[in-house]
């Protein structure tokens, strides 16, 4: 029987890491992508959206006016809407619809009167187009303001007080802090990104150290060295896990920097005050969550990749795993999704929901504990399977 040497595990781990850090592709997936992707996705996309919304607010729209003759006074009020041009189409509804569909105009206002002289204003809007929604919102604001003014005048004529229409007041008080409000959107999105980065950081090294070594013919030489199979697989495994954890750590740091300073900058761009703080302790919990997950991903990736004869073959084997991880990782983005003790046993979903709760500041210790425990158990099972697969000749030397 072979004697197990921790030294050999360490030597293999060191060599693999040296090999990895000299590979630009791994550096890209391990450092550059997690460092830049979260800020680019959140701040870049956020800034772009803020800029687009600002443009939409400033833009002048064209809206068709139909039936202006039915109520000329109302037609005049409608035409006072800000930054809106009106195109008088009489009552040609077909033409109006055609022009809206073609995008030549953003919407239409159709005024009709019933038998008792009451006016109805129909607003045609294409809600799948932001420009149409923005244009018709302006018209609606104008009409609502006018209706309020007419109502006030009527009440005054009748000698009734204005608040007769408001028998009681409804007041809503938002108990969420500014930070919690800012976090609510990010809490859905960031767990997905963190999980994805943890997986991405491990993919290339896992392929390179298994199928890549087989393809290059270096594995055979290593197998003929005094290092035992278990030492080899563990050395490689810890190297893959190191890259995965590094990738996760960089993602968390990048997320922290982005949340602390990036959000302030983004808020300034949007003319709003966006602040968000996450405690150091919560950040450490997030890092802690990623450790067993990185261990699980590393074992899964290595187990799959070692079956392949080439890196290309390994990449195709890993595509389904990507899908299996991406879908549960998206759990945090499902509206209303919250962690519970049952979900804490579901791999990847549990981490996604715990990270969401950490960001929302509503973490349940029991859920955290079970998530850590279950993911660690899955990782240990994964490592066990990986070591068993590495002992099989028909896997290492496929006929």
């Amino acid at each position: 029987m072979s004697r197990f040497s921790l030294n050999n595990v360490g030597f293999i781990w060191q060599k693999e890491l040296l090999d990895i850090v000299r590979d630009r592709r791994t550096l890209m997936s391990m450092i550059v992508v997690p460092l830049l992707l979260i800020p680019v996705m959140v701040i870049g996309v956020g800034a772009l959206m803020a800029s687009s919304i600002s443009d939409l607010k400033e833009q002048t729209y064209t809206v068709a006016l139909l039936g202006a003759d039915a109520d000329t006074e109302l037609a005049e009020v409608v035409q006072e809407a800000e930054r809106t041009q009106f195109l008088d189409l009489d009552s040609d509804t077909a033409m109006a619809r055609e022009m809206i569909d073609a995008g030549d105009i953003q919407g239409a206002v159709y005024i009709t009167k019933d038998g008792v002289g009451k006016a109805t204003v129909r607003m045609w809007v294409r809600k799948n187009r932001e420009t149409s929604t923005f244009a018709m919102d302006r018209v609606e604001d104008q009409l609502v303001a006018h209706r309020k003014e007419v109502t006030r005048l009527h009440l005054a004529e009748l000698g009734e007080p204005e608040d007769i229409l408001t028998p009681f007041v409804i007041e809503e008080e938002n108990l969420a802090s500014d930070e919690q409000m800012a976090a609510s959107g990010l809490a859905s999105f960031l767990p997905y990104m963190l999980i994805l980065m943890t997986l991405t950081g491990a993919i290339y090294p896992a392929i390179d150290m298994t199928a890549g070594e087989k393809e290059r013919g270096t594995l055979e030489t290593l197998l003929a060295s005094p290092a035992g199979r278990l030492e080899i697989v563990l050395g490689k495994y810890f190297a893959v896990m190191t890259t995965s954890v590094t990738s996760a750590l960089i993602s968390v740091i990048s997320m922290m920097v982005m949340l602390t300073w990036g959000m302030v900058w983004l808020g300034a761009q949007m003319g709003e005050q966006l602040t968000f703080q996450i405690s150091f302790g919560n950040m450490m919990i997030a890092v802690l969550m990623m450790l067993p997950l990185a261990a699980l991903f590393s074992s899964l990736l290595m187990t799959i990749a070692v079956f392949a004869k080439s890196t290309r073959e390994a990449q195709s084997y890993i595509v389904p795993l990507n899908m299996l991880v991406i879908l549960p990782a998206m759990m945090s983005m499902v509206p209303g999704s919250e962690g519970d003790l049952q979900r804490a046993w579901t791999p990847v979903v549990n981490v996604s929901l715990v990270l969401k709760d950490i960001l929302n500041g509503s973490l349940d210790p029991a859920q955290l504990g079970i998530t850590l425990l279950s993911t660690t158990i899955y990782a240990i099972i994964g490592i066990f399977i990986t070591t068993k697969v590495f002992q099989r000749e028909n896997v290492l030397f496929r006929v």
């Binding site: 060599k15 040296l18 060295s225």
Partner: protein, 255 residues
């Protein structure tokens, strides 16, 4: 002379979904003596690589036993691997490491002390003219320089037995020459080498004894003179085909 390697009734069966059981090696017995250059000669698919992989403990035999330097390949694989230097012609090296890093890596796996590693690398780099590119990444080296690095890697721990699997296959003549010269030197230095080849001239020039394998079985074994005498031929090529033909005749007779 004492035997450093003894293989007894070695057999290896691979399972293939399409082809069923593949008997790569059948009932193979031979021994290699200390200080001997021993050649396994056979065509592609004869079972040479599988045999050497079993002896290097990369594969486990399906049947039979083998000892290397007194250690059992199944019971003491780590001891066996610590006693051998293994090299194949199509072995590539870690291209992002330098020769110094590669040699240090393998030396550490062989349990060599730090001080000894540096000394050994200096010694080998001088012998194989590696000094100039010890710090250059292997990916930037020529084929010949890589091959010399490979030899250094295989002998870094001064192995008792060198196992070379088709060490010159696929190499250009200059790169192949480094290997051939090294094996020739090994004979002078009294080292033990077992190597497989399908190049008859290589076996003829280098080997003290040759084993001809075909379809996973041993067809003949002995010195060149013994093989020629047994086959009644005048050179190794004729002898080789004689033993292969014998096999075909034997199969035809059974069928």
């Amino acid at each position: 002379m004492s035997a450093i390697l003894e293989a007894k009734n070695l057999g290896k069966v691979f399972e293939d979904k399409k082809r069923g059981e593949i008997h790569a090696v059948r009932d193979l017995s031979f021994q290699v003596n200390r200080g001997e250059i021993f050649g396994l000669l056979g065509t592609n698919g004869a079972g040479k690589t599988t045999t050497l992989r079993i002896l290097a403990t990369i594969l486990q035999p399906s049947s039979g036993t083998a000892t290397v330097a007194g250690y059992d390949v199944i019971q003491q694989p780590d001891r066996v691997r610590a006693s051998i230097g293994y090299l194949t012609g199509d072995t590539n090296l870690y291209t992002r490491l330098t020769p110094r890093e590669l040699l240090t890596y393998y030396a550490r796996l062989f349990g060599m002390a730090k001080g000894d590693i540096a000394t050994k690398i200096e010694e080998l780099s001088e012998r194989f003219e590696l000094q100039e590119f010890l710090g250059t990444k292997i990916g930037k080296l020529s084929t010949g320089q890589r091959q010399r690095t490979s030899i250094c890697r295989a002998i870094i721990q001064k192995p008792e037995l060198m196992i070379f699997d088709e060490p010159t296959a696929g190499l250009d003549p200059i790169s192949a020459r480094h290997i051939v010269e090294f094996i020739r030197e090994s004979r002078t230095a009294g080292r033990t080498v077992i190597f497989s080849t399908h190049y008859l001239r290589e076996a003829e020039k280098l080997c003290d004894r040759i084993a001809i394998v075909h379809d996973g079985t041993l067809r003949a074994m002995g010195t060149l003179d013994e093989l020629l005498a047994e086959s009644g031929t005048s050179d190794l090529e004729d002898a080789f085909f004689h033993f292969i033909e014998l096999d075909r005749e034997a199969v035809a007779a059974v069928v």
